[in-house]
């Protein structure tokens, strides 16, 4: 087992060189995650980091914990299986806005309402980075830089906060890759909060959305303690500009974890199929 006290943030990084573009926000998310894991003080082997497909979804390979890099959109389903099968593990899922809200949108909704005790780091750059710059569900309707939607999508973006609250999320924080220290604190709080917690990270794509470099001027901290009821959070953040950082909502729903009992062995069920002679009948009665 890892000597817990001695692990630094660097110990939670691997020696694999990220494929990310220089300046990509995801580097700082990795830094913040490693810092958070060091702060949590849990052994590396007790943590599982699960992702789908996208630039952001590459993150598990750059850490030194157990990881699973699956198919596009299914990170939350894989993570749910890991946590339900192994409640002793700390389970973190991570990925992009396309992975989590488009192809995997249904799993996001159901992960919020199922409330399994795990954390989801949603790295939002309002674009499909990996496939070279198409609109995602969080892209503004008038963004015209993609060859697929040269006149903009004309479709309203989804607000992850509102979607999560409406779906029953138990904890929602927003961070910014340009402020990795705050982000690390948010990840620690999310992991420590029981139930399903979302950390929505504004993580610029400098290659396809270079204007996102200006996000550092847009972000602003939340000016109140986290809302404790979904209705309160929805009211408070009804007109949210999407740049409020901090813990925005912390609920107290009971996490989902079916109770396990071991009162029988598999072979005990065979008896249920054995033909028994009901009392009163003659076992060897010959046909009339």
């Amino acid at each position: 087992m890892d000597a817990i006290a001695s692990l630094s943030a660097q110990d939670f990084k691997s020696d694999v060189k990220p494929i990310w573009c220089p300046g990509c926000g995801d580097f700082a998310v990795l830094t913040a995650l490693a810092k958070a894991l060091a702060e949590l003080g849990r052994p590396r082997e007790s943590i599982a980091l699960i992702s789908g497909i996208g630039c952001s979804s590459r993150i598990p390979a750059y850490t030194s914990v157990y990881g699973f890099h699956g198919v596009h959109g299914r990170a939350l389903a894989v993570a749910t299986g890991v946590k339900l099968a192994r409640p002793d593990l700390t389970v973190i899922a991570a990925g992009g806005d396309g992975d989590g809200l488009s192809i995997g949108g249904n799993h996001f909704l159901h992960a919020c309402r199922r409330n399994v005790d795990m954390t989801y780091i949603l790295m939002d750059n309002q674009v499909y980075g990996m496939t070279k710059g198409q609109a995602s569900p969080t892209t503004a309707p008038d963004w015209c830089e993609s060859k697929l939607t040269p006149s903009g999508t004309g479709v309203s973006p989804v607000a992850p906060l509102h979607l999560a609250l409406a779906s029953g999320v138990n904890f929602f924080a927003r961070g910014f890759s340009g402020n990795p220290n705050e982000l690390a604190r948010l990840v620690v709080a999310a992991v420590n909060h029981p139930g399903f917690s979302v950390v929505h990270v504004l993580s610029p794509c400098v290659t396809f959305r270079s204007e996102q470099r200006a996000w550092k001027q847009s972000v602003h901290g939340a000016d109140a303690a986290p809302a404790a009821h979904p209705a309160e959070a929805l009211a408070r953040f009804a007109d949210d500009d999407g740049f409020t950082t901090g813990i925005l909502f912390a609920g107290d729903r009971e996490p989902f974890m079916p109770a396990r009992t071991t009162t029988m062995a598999a072979s005990d069920f065979e008896r249920g199929f054995a033909v028994r002679t009901p009392p009163g009948s003659l076992a060897a009665a010959s046909p009339a």
Binding site: M1, D2, S14, V16, P43, R44, E45, S46, A48, L49, I50, R58, P60, A61, S64, V65, Y66, G67, F68, H69, G70, V71, R74, A77, V78, A79, T80, G81, V82, L84, A85, R86, D88, L89, N106, H107, L109, P258, A259, R260, T261, M264, A266, S267, F269, E270, F273, A274, V275, T277, P278, P279, G280, S281, L282, A284, A285, S286, P287, A288
Partner: protein
């Protein structure tokens, strides 16, 4: 009346008091097997009567099979219980029915094709339910008019299906005291009045049957000392999974696979595991992959539409070398197709559906009892070989019940090769190490010193994503080698009999093929039966051996597009003369059709 509820004794009569005497048969010939169909509209209790008849046969020492034909209604639609009861194990329904009990004729035409009748058939029809349908009269069957409804009405609380059941039991020759005992065992908790009404109705039916045209009665059961099980294919699949060690199931409901899940949910809850209802099949298979990655042997069950949704992630299980089992209880396709009826048409997608070069296991149970064996074997193989296994059952197996000898067990599997805890040297563990067998030790999360990232991207031995030709070649080769090089032993197929003619088949169609082969041998036609249980990886050397000396091969399958024939052609060398019997569901393939071809060849 509940025992002790108000200080009174619960039951004052026992089954022995309930027996009626069965009238002597008009005809003393006995036969080794009798086929009975019970039909009725929703609520008439045809299914219930069929289930009781099967259980009575089991207690009396017979073997049997009961399939069901249902209308499309969600609840309360017409239903048919199709039974065959015999002194020896039953592998398929017969070519026609000896006895048809029509509780009513509502929507009979929907079933007519599934209930072949012959001039020797006796049809019990209630005059109060209107004219006997033209299709029935055209068969030349003898009609026995029995006022089922009136007889039931004459008994306070009497039910028509119990009158019909009494008549059927008497005509087949099942002992009245066992009928009474089984009914009493099932109704006991409902109290004496209900039980007495049922027994009076049974007796009324049995008495009235004496005046009807007789069918040949069942010969005495073999008191072979072998225990009997009464089990459905879907239950056997669930039990096989549990015995194989499955502790995690995630699934999305779909006909006709749901009973696998319904049986497993409470069983898993009592054996330290769990079943999770997922939001869709994409989630189900990925939850299963996650659970298995975390160390739990895991399974999902679905039918064709769900398998189609799972295909991308089956490839993920291949590439990441995560053991999982996907049970597909096949139904008529494509698209939503015929959800309640059987067809062997997911073979193509199970074998060829995955993109990329994706070696995986495909297995198929070939009887109701074999659902247990094959599913348990599939779990062991998936775990041992760190690969996904698809188990192709179908509606005809899954939703049918049989009285069988206790199913046999597959050979013990060596199970998942894992790495022990070790000192922390993160760079040293190679999850996808090239090994001679192709199987590499798998570190389960929680194991110190062996953290790694499982990946669906092509990867190096360490698991780091790689697009290099050499890594791709190494990993493709390793994943193919571990499946192809494994010794699957004799369970790859059932090979029975000798002869220059062979039947090659798979899955539920093995039942009628086995029956036809037995009938052919009885006529002196040497016939081999080869039923493939392991479809992928193909076993060319073994099939060549099984086919040695065979001149003519008859391929039998239930699909319109000859999927199995094309599959065996693509994997195997076949003898020069090959004929194919291939037609789509929902009609089952009957032994006679197969026998005709064998006889024509002789």
């Amino acid at each position: 009346m509940e025992a002790g509820h108000d200080g009174q004794a619960a039951s004052t009569i026992g089954p022995a008091d309930l027996a009626w005497s069965t009238p002597a048969a008009a005809d003393h010939r006995t036969v080794p097997a009798v086929s009975v169909a019970v039909i009725g509209s929703g609520g008439a209790g045809a299914m219930r009567a069929g289930e009781i008849l099967l259980e009575v046969a089991a207690v009396a020492g017979f073997y049997g099979l009961m399939t069901r034909a249902m209308g499309p209604q969600i609840r309360g639609g017409e239903a048919a219980a199709l039974l065959r009861i015999a002194t020896a194990p039953v592998s398929s329904l017969d070519d026609h029915f000896d006895l048809l009990i029509a509780l009513d004729w509502a929507n009979f035409n929907r079933f007519a094709a599934e209930i072949p009748l012959a001039p020797t058939t006796v049809v019990i029809a209630d005059p109060a339910e209107g004219d006997v349908p033209e299709a029935v009269l055209a068969s030349g069957a003898r009609i026995g008019r029995l006022a089922l409804k009136d007889l039931a009405r004459a008994v306070p609380g009497g039910r028509t299906n119990m009158v019909g059941l009494g008549a059927a039991a008497a005509m087949v020759g099942l002992p009245s005291e066992i009928v009474a005992a089984v009914v009493s065992g099932q109704l006991g908790r409902k109290g004496d009045a209900v039980l007495a009404a049922s027994v009076a109705a049974l007796k009324a039916g049995a008495d009235a049957a004496a005046a009807l045209p007789a069918i040949s009665r069942l010969a005495a059961p073999l008191h072979d000392g072998v225990a009997r099980w009464n089990i459905s294919g879907n239950q056997a699949t669930g039990l096989g999974a549990l015995k194989g060690g499955v502790s995690f199931v995630a699934a999305y409901p779909i006909t006709p696979a749901t009973e696998v899940l319904e049986w497993m949910a409470p069983a898993l809850a009592k054996t330290g595991g769990m079943l999770v209802q997922a939001e869709d099949e994409l989630a189900a298979i990925n939850m299963v992959i996650g659970a298995s990655f975390a160390g739990a042997p895991a399974l999902t069950a679905t039918s064709g539409p769900g398998l189609a949704l799972m295909i991308e992630s089956l490839g993920l299980a291949v590439a990441s070398e995560t053991p999982i089992v996907v049970v597909d209880v096949m139904r008529g396709g494509p698209s939503t197709g015929i959800p309640t009826k059987s067809e062997q048409t997911d073979l193509n997608i199970a074998v060829n559906g995955l993109h990329g070069d994706a070696p995986h296991l495909v297995l198929a149970p070939n009887s109701i009892a074999d659902c247990l064996f094959t599913t348990q074997w599939a779990v062991g193989l998936a775990e041992t070989l760190q690969a996904p296994a698809i188990v192709l059952s179908d509606q005809a197996l899954g939703q049918s019940r049989a009285i069988v000898a206790p199913p046999r067990e597959p050979p013990a599997a060596s199970g998942r090769l894992t790495v022990p805890a070790r000192d922390h040297v993160p760079a040293s563990y190679r999850r996808y190490a090239e090994t001679e067998s192709g199987v590499s030790p798998m570190a389960i999360p929680g194991t110190p010193g062996s953290t790694y990232v499982a990946d669906g991207l092509e990867h190096t031995e360490r698991g780091t994503p790689s697009a290099q030709a050499a890594d791709h070649a190494t990993q493709l080769d390793k994943r193919a080698r571990k499946l192809e090089g494994f010794d699957y032993g004799p369970s790859w197929a059932d090979v029975e009999g000798e002869g220059e003619i062979a039947l090659l088949t798979w899955g539920s169609v093995t039942g009628p093929a086995r029956e036809a082969a037995a009938q052919a041998r009885a006529r002196g036609i040497g016939t081999r039966l080869i039923s493939l249980r392991l479809l992928l990886p193909a076993q060319p050397a073994r099939l060549a051996e099984a086919l040695r000396g065979v001149r003519k091969l008859l391929v039998v399958e239930q699909s319109h597009g000859r999927q199995f024939h094309k599959f065996v052609r693509s994997c195997y060398d076949l003898p020069a003369e090959v004929a194919v019997i291939s037609h789509p569901g929902p009609l089952p393939i009957r032994p006679a059709e197969i026998l005709d071809q064998l006889a024509a060849w002789e």
